[in-house]
């Protein structure tokens, strides 16, 4: 079957890609700027076509715990929300990470703190990349910068989630969720018929019972469990780092930016180049695991590095750790739902020269 070309919002692309990727269930609760995902799925009614369950939950805690229940059956299960809703899900996400369940959580980020604003923001980086809920755990975090990547990352997310038995987050923002771009959609893939051997599906006489839990009353056993999940994170750090570079070959100044900010920085690099400033951009695609090794390599050649984020400066901490003092690292950003312009970014760069 041919790939299909459509003009879609980022949110709609996620929904359509989920149906096509053979996702088994979606559980969600409305919140701007991502309600189109649930609306699109309800209208598409995929249960009739692929058997995909779509349910509007009574709250985000309910939605994430439905994800837990479905994921523990070995099914491909997902939820989506925006910042305040994702905060409410944190207990459930911690349980999912602790019980080693694969699933997809999409955060179409809006400005905080509190009820904040419905405008796009990147101020949930810490929450997404540093754990978010209680305990030592990581999500594998993918940061799309286009509607195409919103669609493509759904399938990638489930592949990675099942490979590592770990929750994966797509960390998007209100701009990418709401903007329309052309997107190539993959053909429909059948839902998985065989379930993983650890899934709770009813105990046949041929195997031991399956138990999904994050509890260990014995601290020594629980330390072992923690070591096991930490070992997975080290594997991810080795195998799953993804990033994209733009005009870094001869660059003397480097932007580090993801998602919407990376789009702004790409333009800022072009503007800088017309003025003879050798600027470049590295765009982390995985925020956890972070492309620290590559940033460290690039840092030696740079006169200055700017982490451009729509936040007070969160990723900049990881950039500094990666650069490890080789050159100066600063942050530039707007907060509260404001998207910086390429001109503003260029001005900030010029102030460092």
């Amino acid at each position: 079957m041919e790939k299909e070309l459509r003009l879609m919002k980022g949110n709609e692309a996620i929904a359509e890609a989920a149906i096509r990727a053979g996702v088994d269930a979606y559980f969600g609760y409305p919140i701007t700027p991502q309600s189109e995902i649930l609306e699109y799925l309800m209208e598409a009614n995929p249960y009739e076509k692929t058997g995909m369950v779509v349910l509007q939950a009574e709250s985000e805690p309910a939605a994430i715990n439905m994800v837990y229940g479905g994921a523990a059956c070995g099914k491909k299960v997902m939820t989506t929300s925006s910042s305040p809703g994702i905060s409410l899900m944190q207990e459930g996400i911690s349980y999912i990470a602790g019980a080693e369940l694969p699933c997809l959580i999409v955060n179409v980020v809006r400005g905080g703190p509190g009820l904040g604003t419905i405008q796009p923001s990147q101020s949930d980086y810490f929450q997404a990349c540093k754990g978010g809920g209680h305990g030592d755990y990581h999500l594998l975090v993918l940061a799309p910068a286009s509607v195409q990547e919103m669609a493509d990352f759904v399938e990638l997310a489930f592949d990675l989630a099942f490979k590592y038995r770990n929750p994966v987050m797509i960390l998007s923002d209100g701009a990418i969720g709401q903007m329309m771009e052309k997107v190539y959609l993959k053909p429909y893939r059948e839902r998985e018929k065989t379930l993983p051997e650890w899934a709770t599906t009813g105990k046949p006489p041929t195997r031991e019972r399956n138990i999904i839990t994050s509890l260990n009353l014995d601290p020594y056993l629980h330390e072992k469990h923690n070591q096991k999940i930490q070992a997975k994170y080290r594997e991810m750090e080795k195998n799953e780092v993804r990033f994209e570079e733009f005009q870094t070959e001869d660059a003397e100044y480097l932007f580090v930016a993801y998602g919407t900010s990376a789009r702004v920085c790409q333009k800022a690099v072009q503007l800088a180049r017309t003025e003879g400033i050798k600027a470049g951009l590295i765009r982390p695609i995985t925020l956890y695991p972070f492309p620290s090794v590559r940033i460290n390599e690039l840092a030696g050649k740079m006169k200055h590095i700017i982490s451009v984020e729509m936040s007070a400066g969160q990723m900049v901490e990881d950039v500094r750790l990666a650069v490890n003092g080789q050159t100066e690292v600063t942050h530039f950003g707007r907060m509260g739902g404001v998207i910086p312009t390429p001109e503003e970014v260029l001005e900030d760069l010029k102030s460092k020269i």
Partner: protein
């Protein structure tokens, strides 16, 4: 007829009147002596065995004293976050509609932190069984006041007795659930006497049958005890339960499905 001369001769298959359910594992219960949790587990295990449900059962256990239920029953189980079991069960049943899905929850779990999940799962009419162990207290955390603690009842956080003026009223969530259109069978039972155990077991069997017929949510409250949290001996606890808890939480059916649902379903078709 064989003449019985000693113990060995009595132990014959034909003389067997009771045996431990094959669904119970060898693990010793972690419950305090006289606690109702153990009895409730046992009859649930017996129903699963007698109805041949082991290969199709997925259970959800809560945060509470029964958090380690999966150690005691030889079935597939998921452990839920505090109060969220009905959300897990909703997804399990939606994704595996031909399985027997139950939750087993304490009163703190089901009627305080999990009130929303409980009411909404019941209101949606999820085809699951909710077993609700109401011991009027937070057993696991050491005997604090629960949403079900009856007026005047002493707990570690109501040391002078529950004062409803300042601490609020006990929540009769079973009565609430019975009003919801999604529930098909709502009953209040207990497990403190052999007769009560038989009735509760029968109730679980009915719920299994209703779930097979996709009739909606079945909700079985088991009014139970917590000798440790109540600071009583097991005998005192059961007596206190009968004299005080049963007045407030009267045993019996609150909602039963209409007669012969299968027939009426056929009629509609």
């Amino acid at each position: 007829m064989k003449v019985v001369t000693g113990d060995k001769d009595i132990i014959q298959p034909e003389n067997l009147v009771y045996k431990r359910s094959s669904i119970l594992t060898d693990k010793q219960f972690s419950y305090c002596p006289g606690c109702g949790h153990g009895t409730a587990h046992r009859i649930l295990a017996e129903v699963i065995e007698e109805e041949g449900l082991q290969p199709v059962t997925v259970g959800v256990c809560p945060v509470g004293c029964s958090v380690l239920m999966y150690d005691f029953l030889d079935i597939d189980m998921q452990e839920a976050a505090h109060g969220r079991a009905p959300a897990l069960a909703t997804a399990i049943k939606r994704l595996l509609p031909d399985r027997f899905v139950f939750t087993y929850q304490g009163d703190g779990d089901l009627a305080a932190i999990g009130t929303a999940e409980t009411l909404h799962a019941c209101n949606r009419g999820e085809n699951i069984l909710i077993i609700f162990i109401n011991n009027g207290i937070y057993g696991m955390t050491g005997g604090q006041m629960a949403p079900t603690t009856i007026p005047g009842m002493v707990s570690t956080t109501s040391p002078y007795g529950r004062d409803v003026k300042t601490m609020g009223n006990p929540l009769k969530i079973t009565e609430l659930v019975a009003m919801l259109p999604g529930t098909c069978y709502v009953t209040r039972q207990s497990v403190h006497t052999p007769a009560a155990v038989r009735k509760t077991k029968k109730a679980i069997k009915k719920a299994v049958e209703y779930q097979k017929r996709n009739m909606g949510t079945c909700f079985i409250e088991i009014v139970s005890n917590c000798p440790s949290g109540w600071r009583m001996t097991p005998v005192e606890a059961n007596k206190w339960m009968e004299e005080n808890m049963f007045k407030f939480y009267q045993p019996g059916d609150l909602k039963v499905p209409p007669e012969e649902p299968e027939k009426s379903k056929d009629d509609n078709e």
